[in-house]
Amino acid sequence: MANNNKWARILVYAVLIYAVIYYLLPLYVMITTSVKTTEEIRTGNLLSLPMHITLDAWRKAWGTACTGVQCTGLSLYFWNSVRMVFPAVIISTTMGAINGYILSKWKFYGSEIVFAMLMYGLYIPFQVLLLPMAQTEGYLGIAGTTPGLIFVHVVCGIASTTLFFRNYYVGIPDELINAARLDGAGFWRIFFRVVLPMSLPIVMVTFIWQFTQIWNDFLFGLVFSSGDSQPITVGLNNMANTSTSVKEYNVDMAGAIIAALPTIFVYVVAGKYFVRGLAAGAVKG
């Protein structure tokens, strides 16, 4: 029995350690490569530690690398992404919260159909949207701008944010809303005073989800932005595709890490809420 247990344990650890290595190895390669010189990369081993650490590649990726014809690094793209991601996340999360609140607590005739149709939005491949969306943006006069990109992300994010909030709010007992109604509170007062204060876990989940989706998006960034509004994913792509005499793996790696840092940061800071929020949604009765 005890022996059995021991072997089971060893097996579990072996699997876990394998998984850890599997996921961490690429990160290790990225980080070590980004602080090596081109010379060392060319002569050395992919897995070897850097002989002397240099941040030249990082500086170049951030400030001077060529992305197509211009050579200003990723910094402009990075700030484009920042300017785009926060409004897009905040607006789509807010709309999801309000939709979820209505679809769970203020049901109206046909609200189930509205919800079902919204959920249909989860299954539409975004490629299908490209043409009609481009047309719509043209009509609205926001094509190729940051507001235009925000618009696309908000529209495409509403289905999932609504689903998150609606499912969370279904778990809040209706009697709580009824009590507040008898206390004289209306739609918004109940939302802000009773429902929203209970929503921290799901707000965090939605925030992280949307932030990751929007920050990492490449398709919409490529199609619906131009020149000075392109996000970091497009910038990174341009940088990696700009042909130079020698392939600068260290600069590419540094650029890739720069592009990934904000989502990593968000997970580290808010990750515990993410797990807690998912759990809360599951057990709330």
Partner: protein, 384 residues
């Protein structure tokens, strides 16, 4: 000389003359899809009356409360409060305070904020809010809980807070959905008295759901006994206790429950009555003014006898008496319950402990035949 006709406005119609909190429920039904929960409820009480709703779990009491509060609309029928139809008036404008069965406390607010929320919404000045909170906290013995969140309270404490939240307001109608069900026995009795005093002081109309016999009997001016979405009987506590309209009401109200003895209605020496048989005796007991039942002689009836209507027979009593064999005794303190068999049915008598005999012994019990009730075994209705 004929009186000159006065403008109509001087003579408001009787509907409008009814005071603030009078409640009338007229033929209210409620269905969720194909499930019919309430099947035609009619209840009418005056302003200031205390209405008790009792009935088994799932019979629709909470649903009816929600309809009165306006939280759910009736499928058909009307709700009148203070003489006007309120079907289309939103809950917040009905001026009702309610204690929910599940307490429904705001989890992110502490007790103080929970109580204050309704006052804030109704724009009660801050100073007045504080006074109200103090008063309510003192009444419900929860001064020390004011800064806690509902999650940090026990079930009974939460229930008190829910009560406090309702009592902080001064509405025209209180709705209490089993407000004391989770309190310990002592606090429950205290709170019951407190509610009764409160009602006498405020004279606000109250509707109160309970499973507790004593709460129902002591608090109510009117009791509505419900089953399967139908009002079985609606009347004063005494009426319901003494003249239950059917077997269900008779067995539901009263603890220990009424004894039901199957017997034949018979006629002997020109008197109509029932024959009872025990392990040690057999008697014909005539019914006072039994003549009204002349048409039923020879038929089966169910004799309903409350335990306290079976008392020890003293020799000079001018009442029907029968000797019985004691099977079991249950002393409760003030009374002792005697278990025996009459006509093959288990029967409980409530006697003074001093008079109680032990198991196996025989004793003579007197039946107060003027108070017993008879039911038709088929329709289960009480025979008038």
């Amino acid at each position: 000389m004929a009186m000159p006709a006065l403008p109509a406005a001087r003579y408001p119609n009787s509907e409008l003359e009814k005071k603030m909190g009078a409640l009338a429920i007229k033929n209210v039904t409620k269905s969720f899809g194909d499930t019919h929960i309430l099947k035609g409820i009619d209840i009418e009480i005056d302003d200031g009356q205390f209405l008790i709703l009792v009935g088994p779990s799932g019979c629709g009491k909470s649903t009816l409360m929600n309809i009165i509060a306006g939280l759910e609309g009736p499928t058909t029928g009307e709700v009148h409060i203070g003489g006007r139809v309120v079907n289309n008036i939103s809950p917040k404008d009905r001026d009702i305070a309610m204690v929910f069965q599940s307490y429904a406390l705001y989890p992110t607010m502490n007790v103080r904020q929970n109580i204050a929320f309704g006052l804030e919404t109704r724009k009660v000045p801050k100073k007045e809010q504080d006074e109200v909170i103090q008063r309510v906290a003192k009444m419900l013995q929860m001064d020390h809980l004011l800064d806690r969140k509902p999650g940090q309270l026990s079930g009974g404490q939460r229930q008190r807070v829910a009560m406090g939240r309702a009592l902080a307001r001064d509405p025209i109608l209180f709705l209490f959905d089993e407000p004391l069900s989770n309190l310990d026995a002592k606090l429950r009795v205290e709170m019951r008295t407190e509610i009764k005093q409160l009602h006498q002081r405020l004279k606000t109309t109250m509707v109160y759901v309970t499973h507790d016999q004593i709460e129902a009997m002591t608090l109510g001016d009117r009791i509505a006994v419900m089953k399967d979405g139908i009002i079985q009987q609606f009347g004063s506590p005494q009426e319901i206790y003494e003249r239950p309209s059917n077997l269900f009401v008779a067995s539901f109200i009263g603890s220990p429950s009424m004894n039901f003895i199957d017997c034949h209605l018979a006629e002997q020496n020109g008197q109509i009555g029932v024959s009872l048989q025990t392990d040690s005796d057999a008697r014909f007991l005539p019914l006072p003014n039994g003549q009204r039942l002349a048409g039923r002689v020879g038929q089966e009836v169910i004799l309903g006898v409350r335990p306290e209507q079976l008392d020890v027979a003293h020799s000079d009593d001018n009442v029907a008496a029968i000797s019985i064999k004691v099977n079991l005794t249950e002393p409760t303190g003030p009374d002792t319950m005697i278990f025996t068999k009459i006509n093959g049915k288990e029967v409980v008598a409530r006697v003074h402990p001093r008079d109680a005999k032990g198991p196996g012994e025989t004793m003579r019990l007197a039946l107060d035949m003027s108070k017993v009730v008879l039911f038709d075994p088929k329709t289960e209705l009480r025979l008038e």
